[in-house]
Amino acid sequence: MTGSLQEAPGPYFGEFGGRFVPEALMAALDELTDAYDKARIDPEFTRELERLAREYTGRPSIITEVPRFAAHCGGARVLLKREDLNHTGSHKINNVLGQALLTKRLGKSRVIAETGAGQHGVATATAAALMGLECVIYMGEEDTERQSLNVARMRLLGAEVIPVATGTRTLRDAINEAFRDWVANVETTNYVFGTAAGPHPFPAMVRDFQRVISVESRAQMLELGGLPDAVLACVGGGSNAIGSFDAFLDDAGVRLIGCEAAGDGVETGRHAATLTGGRPGILHGSMSYILQDEDGQTQPSHSISAGLDYPGVGPEHTWLSSIGRAEYWPVTDAEAMEAFRLLTRTEGILPAIESAHALAGAIRLGRELGPGSTLLVTLSGRGDKDVEQAARWFEMLPEGEGDA
């Protein structure tokens, strides 16, 4: 099938992607690429992954139509792809089970991972517990503070959580520290990368493991009467978004919209909207867009959502943006929190603040397209981890506990 945009193999997506890492990691990346290339065509591997998806994660995830929420979206029909219902509470488990199985195939006994909101860390700790692997999670100190519940979850699962106090003390520094660990321990250790960024093979491999989202949702939409007018997903590094887009890439009539975290607003400089406010550069092993100063120093990002608070973005998104196949919209903290409140109040579904960015995009697009349009939104995670932060935002905490 020539001309298909689906399942692009890497290492390059257009001029983006590649592998910009210390030589010390090259052998490990080659080994991982080789193991993955063999595994993906091995029926035993795919059978085991599908079994875990079905019996452990709870796939396929359902589609929920949300008419009371849609009433606020200009009369558009809105459906949610419910990745929040997966075991561990987000889409991250899809990728982690695949990479944990690969770790076993590589004969390695230890996994490391970075985490922002903690969802990827929780998923990795879960897979490590399931498969008997030693597990170390790197998490920015600021994130351990704003997502303390997930830190406890990871520790309960038997993982060691290492708070990273360098740099901006967020996801980006956690990735730096995980790379340093990997360089030193590459013989025993596999790096379970959480998003569709980083050096090859991670962007393509993570996309493949997350692709199940759009493979299912496309079939589910056809069963419900037809393809949607648009698919929306939030974008930090971009793993749920690329998984939500891939099977729709060749459906020219389906708009693909990634919602980036605009924080206080792109114009304020306090944001994480990389494709809106960044430019090409190399960060964490690949060429993509990054938020950076004139010299090429990475700029601190800002978002209310720890999972989107990242100054880079996966290279395939940068490519899809550059060829005009996908659009990337900035969504502010305030817009995301309003969407968070609306979905919770109108449908009884508490979304992750990350996913609320995609809901805010749906409100905007629905009002633009009006009645008769159909929007499919990936609800990438549930909001249990965000209760305290949301309560603080909406000033719902009891007196004396709400100031921070």
């Binding site: 210390p22 030589e23 980006r172 120093q297 990475t298």
Partner: protein, 262 residues
């Protein structure tokens, strides 16, 4: 003949190998870092490796990370690295730059090479850029006559060892241990192995960096490698307070160590 080839030959004529000293520009501030680089030259470094600080130094350990962060807080710019190159050249040693890839990309591969050449620099060490990742850089450097110094590690396969040694000019930078920059207690056999593997792949000169912090280690490494690279131990000696005399003492120890070999 390149400036690096000349300094290797000159040291060989003295029956020793060169000492290469690393410091980040801007730590603890720009003027002190330039003064510190002059101390390196005065106390016996033949080659000075200048690091423009980078916000995300994935191959550096805590000591150099701290120095880079402090330098960036102080407002250091990539331009300052070229000023440091001039200062080192004037002080009489051969300057090279060790830069993470994005700083080079943002300046432009060609402009980075041209600016380095204009300042009197001899080559660039690229910790997160392998020859296969950026043919544009290799091409730009060749055009300017700037040496491209790539890293090899114990995990480097035979095939990649050949690729890397083929693309390296000036010298090959060998790391004897897996891991980030920093001091290590024992280096011995692993260092010897990676040097002989690089030589077998055709490398003319192989220097050992990462982990060397004492005069005794320098003597040991100088016994089989073509050069000894010291970074973290010098950065630690300089410290936040910019102690040039403590730095001078450390450089002297390492310089004597190199000269005590064989």
């Amino acid at each position: 003949m390149s400036a690096l080839a000349e300094v290797f030959d000159a040291c060989q004529a003295e029956g020793r190998v060169p000492l290469v000293g690393y410091l980040p520009v801007g730590y603890p501030d720009v003027p002190t870092s330039l003064a510190a680089m002059r101390v390196l030259v005065e106390a016996g470094c033949d080659i000075v490796e200048i690091g423009p600080p980078y916000s995300d130094p994935v191959l550096d350990g805590p000591v150099i990370q701290h120095a880079a962060a402090k330098a960036l807080e102080g407002g250091v710019k990539v331009d300052d690295a070229f000023a440091a190159v001039r200062a080192v050249a004037e002080a009489g040693a051969v300057p090279v730059v060790m830069s993470y890839a994005n700083l080079m990309l943002q300046r432009g591969w060609s402009r980075f090479a041209a600016d380095l050449k204009a300042a009197g620099g001899a080559g660039v060490i690229t910790p997160d850029l392998t020859p296969d990742a950026a043919p544009e850089w290799v091409e730009a450097a060749r055009e300017e006559g700037v040496d491209t110094i790539f890293l090899v590690a114990p995990s480097t396969t035979r095939e990649r060892m050949r690729l890397t040694c083929d693309a390296s000019t000036g010298f090959v930078y060998a790391t004897p241990l897996m891991g980030v920059t920093g001091e290590r207690a024992a280096l011995g056999d692993a260092a010897q192995r990676v040097v002989s593997e690089a030589r077998a792949a055709g490398a003319a000169r192989v220097c050992i960096g990462v982990g060397v912090s004492t005069g005794a280690q320098a003597t040991e490494i100088a016994g089989f490698a073509d050069g000894v690279i010291v970074g973290t131990a010098f950065v630690r000696a300089l410290g936040d307070e910019g102690d040039l005399e403590r730095l001078r003492a450390k450089v002297t120890e390492l310089a004597e160590g190199v000269r005590a070999a064989r």
